[in-house]
Subunit: 412 residues, 2 copies
């Protein structure tokens, strides 16, 4: 008998009507001849409400107590989903992370899963229960409640699917899957039938927040394929899996655009060890996350270092860097907000040459100026003016034939 | 070092401001040289909100899942209280019922405490932690979450105080303690310094809902004294304890009045076995709770049976009893709503004669008609017209000298 793990996020269980829909889908899946494990997040808004309350009590709440507090969100949701399944006449039982055998390390609020002992789940499945597990949470060997950090419910689902040797892992969200580009920007963007883990990781890191990177990395490490699909319709979604030979036939899997970025350039940095470290330790100490980092070739022992951050962080970064620029003897700090990052992603790049050239060429012909370039093995990212972002995505999507990508892969 | 258990109800932890007040009191208690265990209820409104959600999903939710769901309310509250204590610079740690060692039977939604293993609490107290325990919940030997039913947090506090051999158990509520009568009715009603368990039980059963009867019964059974006091001011409250010899010097401890009652009389009931059973099984099958039951002496093999119920239940009861009256061959069903029950309670009654006479006399002199009378060893209850309730309480309070009860006990 097939075993399916289905994960439902906060909006999918965001009220009693939605919960009943989830229950219907779980029962239908069981009736189609499957064993079913559901992993649920807290109802939309609940976790944020609890975080707000904690913030009113303490500027820096104890991380242990934060975990105890936040774990209640998923615990309530799992009981409600189990009740709804029962109300439909099927058997369901809810399990906390601890009861489901999710053992973690002791790092509160961002624990790592150490091990899963799915013995009890197997037994319940054999007794025809639909097993509803609280996502996002686990327990230490000492019996302390832990949580897995943002996106932790995806991680729970993928780890359980791996531990249970499930035949399928379905991540239900409010989008239909992973698209070649944001359909609001590129109307003929296509839903991808499949995507390699690495491609999804680069897409996620590039602003297509379908899944948190940690969950995808876990799936990659343990070889757990999963499908991202919508809980609002019955359509199939996008399957993320290990790359296969024929995936490389597609040069570019997708394009993602991240807006509201700011570009920071420190010019005339003395090319001595430690300069970059001084710059980035100042920024990261303020919890500002840095995205692209580009260092140009050194000229007369002076170099320029550029990076991008979210534009909301720019005032704070400028303040912090003013001092650092003097300290390290750099010449100038220049910044620009309102820029965007466009990334083209595809494992096909490894075996297809000329991708960068085609990208730069199509942007150039459209008179879109490229301000920064950064590449990885399977991604090329450029920083452009925010006003050009939509047009850049459209011309790139067309140039790489993404609206027909699956039907007729382009050869590079 | 003294060990104190403090229990805080839903209104006491009803928001971040209130929670900070609770934390302050916990820290002050510790700083006064005590070891402190706090037992907390769910924030006011939370439990009702969860019950409503469950009701939207299922007409009769699984009791196991109901327990899992409701237990989250206390779990969130305990974490928030612990955070607030931490924010004040003291050490606190929260424990679920399971972590606190509260072992129960398997009766979901109204489990009984089977045993408490307070080893972990003792260790944490020795490490100077303020230990914050979730009230209302426990765990079965199989690791299933259970809840203890309405008023369960009081029970948790009293059971923990017993198991820990605490020096004091304080039940914080929104009233100052137990009064000789409702101060809104009798302005010179006095707060009692002490009360015997049995008296409090009779008062609770008579509408003075300071504590649920189950918690008081548990305290009586295991000899755990406790103090009912307000979380809104620093005043001492009322200590409930085993009766002492000098408690009997006070004839009447207090008076309670229950309004919105209805009186039901079935007249001309054939005096054969089974008649009463037919009447009351019909009523209780509809979940209508019956309070006073009075059966008059039999006259020519016919008897009258009267009882009181809440007046909201009267239409349903009339409907159910119409058939029963015919079936058992009774003559007539008569009902009256808008009546009140006045109870005078005191263990002193056992050794003081004439209490009933004094009660009836003072009501008679005030032209208050007595419709039904029922007595126990330490209580006399009468049913009177609801319009007379306040006046009856006032004259009774005065007759038994309750406004000076503690200063100068009346001899009977």
């Amino acid at each position: 008998m097939r075993l399916i793990v289905q994960k439902y996020g906060g909006t999918s269980v965001g009220g009693s009507e939605r919960i009943l829909k989830v229950a219907e889908r779980l029962v239908e899946t069981q009736q189609s001849g499957c064993r079913v494990v559901a992993v649920v997040s807290a109802m939309a808004g609940v976790t944020d409400g609890l975080i707000k309350l904690a913030g009113e009590l303490s500027p820096k709440p104890s991380e242990r107590e934060m975990d105890v507090l936040l774990a209640t969100g998923e615990q309530a949701a799992m009981a409600l989903v189990a009740m709804a399944v029962n109300a439909l006449g099927a058997k369901a039982i809810s399990l906390t992370g601890a009861q489901a055998g999710v053992l973690t390390d002791r790092i509160h609020t961002k624990a790592k899963i150490a091990n899963i002992s799915p013995k009890q789940i197997h037994e319940l499945l054999q007794d025809d229960y639909i097993v509803v597990v609280a996502g996002f949470q686990g327990q230490t060997a000492e019996g302390e409640t832990t949580t897995l950090g943002r996106g932790g419910s995806d991680l729970t689902a993928i780890a359980l699917a791996g531990a249970l040797n499930a035949d399928a892992c379905q991540i239900y969200t409010d989008v239909d899957g992973v698209f070649t580009c944001d359909p609001r920007v590129v109307p003929d963007a296509l839903k991808l039938e499949e995507i390699a883990y690495d491609e999804l990781l680069e897409m996620a890191g590039a602003g297509s927040k379908v899944m948190q990177s940690r969950a995808v990395e876990f799936a990659k490490k343990f070889g757990v394929p999963f499908e991202v699909r919508s809980s609002f319709n019955p359509n199939s979604g996008t399957v993320a899996r290990e790359e296969t030979a024929n995936m490389e036939d597609v040069v570019i899997r997708g394009i993602s655009v991240e807006r509201k970025q700011a570009k920071v350039t420190v010019s005339g940095v003395p090319d001595v060890p430690g300069s970059a470290s001084r710059i980035f330790s100042a920024v990261s100490a303020a919890n500002i996350s840095v995205d692209m980092i580009v260092q140009n070739a050194s000229d007369r022992n002076l170099t320029d270092i550029s990076f991008t951050i979210h534009e909301a962080d720019l005032p704070r970064a400028e303040e912090l860097l003013a001092g650092v620029v003097n300290e390290i003897g750099a010449k100038r700090l220049s910044t620009e907000s309102g820029v965007a990052k466009l990334s083209v992603v595809g494992i096909g790049m490894r075996s297809h040459s000329g991708v960068a050239t085609r990208l730069f060429d199509c942007l150039g012909r459209s008179e879109i100026n490229i301000q920064l370039i950064s590449t990885s093995e399977i991604k090329i990212a450029v920083v452009i003016d925010g006003a050009d972002a939509d047009r850049a995505a459209q011309v790139t999507h067309e140039t790489f034939g993404l609206s027909k990508a699956i039907a007729a892969p382009i050869s590079g």
